[in-house]
Each structure stands twice: as structure tokens, then as C-alpha cells.
Symmetry: C2
Amino acid sequence: MKQLEKMYNLIKTKGLKLTPARKIMMEVFLNSGNKLLNASEIYDQVREKNSKTNFSTIYRNLELLVDHGIIEKLHLGVEAQYMLLDEDSCRHHMICTVCHKIEPLPYCPLKELENYIRDEHNFIPTQHRVEIYGYCKKCSEHKKDK
Amino acid sequence: MKQLEKMYNLIKTKGLKLTPARKIMMEVFLNSGNKLLNASEIYDQVREKNSKTNFSTIYRNLELLVDHGIIEKLHLGVEAQYMLLDEDSCRHHMICTVCHKIEPLPYCPLKELENYIRDEHNFIPTQHRVEIYGYCKKCSEHKKDK
DNA sequence: ATTGCAAATGCAAATCATTTGCATTACTTG
DNA sequence: CAAGTAATGCAAATGATTTGCATTTGCAAT
């Protein structure tokens, strides 16, 4: 439960009120098993614990949490997906195309690339995103079907 | 005009009919100056040349062109964006956050990274996407405001 | 503890991008 | 040139996300 307390404190630190909806949303993220969640998955899971929470509350809080750097919003398809953004977080992920589990990649291959881009392409890099799609360990073991 | 003819042939090669809407859409892409275009930008530009083209035609053709590997669809924000996919195309882009011009990156930094991922993370990479955000040449020259 | 108030919420309706059903039209192949 | 299928126009549906407004609530100051 220490993780959860930390999240609560983080929310307060940012000057946000610690409301029931927000508490439950943090639980949901911590229990997501590192999967990307879309708004309605989050909504459904929050409703299991507090059946009166409204969809607009979910959306408003997601936006707020993104703005405060607590979660990250990814637009991989028609609907946005969200994930917890931990301290040492980076923008490099391994995303399983089967189970949608997302794992951070603790290594940035782009240092040299950015120098090359700056020097050879007259483009000033400020941000980058690397996404590696494929099969995570579990899914590659079970993929007798594909 | 050679470029455009090539596009026309490509469409026919794929077994698609060469309709006015499709012709104009190819023109729009070729004249986009390598910018990402969203559906309504494409719609507006097509309407300039053929005022009766319907939005659903645009969407249907965009989907078809994506399916046939003629254009690429990127979900960077709420609305999808599209770009021409040329022969030697890769999934590595430099995207200007000011003017939204997109330039392909003729170098893949991920060969080694994929080996590392496979060996150290038990993850089998099948696809990847690299996006470098920043200022393109033009915009970095003019950015007195930022 | 109680109060005051800005922040957060619920609700319903609006918005915006995208999709779809269906009747009509128009490319292309023979 | 005709036939058949693919493509289109139109209007309405869908689905995700946002917003206005009245009500409630967390929490800092009393």
C-alpha cells in the first residue's frame, strides 16, 4: 500500500484535492499491471469501487493528471490511452500488440541520432518518442495461434 | 507532373479505380510540402478543385489508401493525420512542432536496440516507430517569438 | 469542530471526428 | 457501347470527448 500513499501525496503536492474519484483512479493505474488503459476501461474500473462516479469526472481528472505530469496520454489509435508516469520515466516503450502491456525501456538510443539530425538535417530536436511493438514474453510463449 | 502520373498508376496497379476524388487527393498530397494533413484539411483542398466531393468519400479513400500502402495514417492527437508513403519510406520522422512539416529520417537507429531488447527483455520486436519532435530549419530561423 | 470558498462533481446536452446504410452514379473491362 | 462492380453523395448514426451549470465537497483558516 506504500505505492498508493505515494500517489496520494503526489496529488496533494501538486495542489490538487484528494477526492474519492482521484484516489480510486490511482488505484486503478497501480493495479493495471502496466497496461495502457483507455478512458472507458478506467471508468469501468472506477465504477466497480464507486458506482456514482461520472464519465466527465474521469475525463476531467485524466486531463488534470496529464497536465501535472502524473500520467501520460498516448494517442495510438482512435481513443487515447493512459499510463502512469513514474519518476525515472522515459518516452521509450515496448508495447505488446497482443495484450497491450507496456514496458518502459531503460535505455535511450537517440543521443547520437539527435546530434546527427542537428548537424546534417538542420532540425533542432526537442522531444522524441520511441515505440517498439512486438510480443512480450508471455504472449510470445502463448502465440500458437498467430 | 511525372510524380502525379506515377501516383495514378500506383492506384490503378492496386486495382483501385482512378476517380476524380482520388486524383485530386493525390495532387493534394503531392502539393502538401511534406506536411501531415488531417482529414478536413484534405477535404478543404479537394473541395477547392471539386466542390461536390463528400466528406465520406474522403474518409473512405483515406482508409483505402492506407490499406493499400499508398499513404500512412498517424495518430498523434485527437484527429488522425496522413502522409504520402514513398517507396523507400520508413517509420522514422522528424516532425516540426511549429509548422507540422514532416521529414523522413533516412537512418534507422534501432537495429542494435532491437537485438538488446530481444536478448535482455524477452520481448520480440516486430515494428517500431521513432518520432523526433523539434524545430525544422525554417521554423528555427523564425522562432523569435518562442 | 465549524465555516467559507474555490475546486470538484454529476448530469445532460453539445461537439467533433469518423463511420455507415442505401440509393444513385461512374470507372473500367470486354 | 453495355454490364457489372466499385465509388460516391447524402443524411443519419456512432463513439469519444468536452462543456455549461447547478450542486457538493475537500481543506485551509478560523
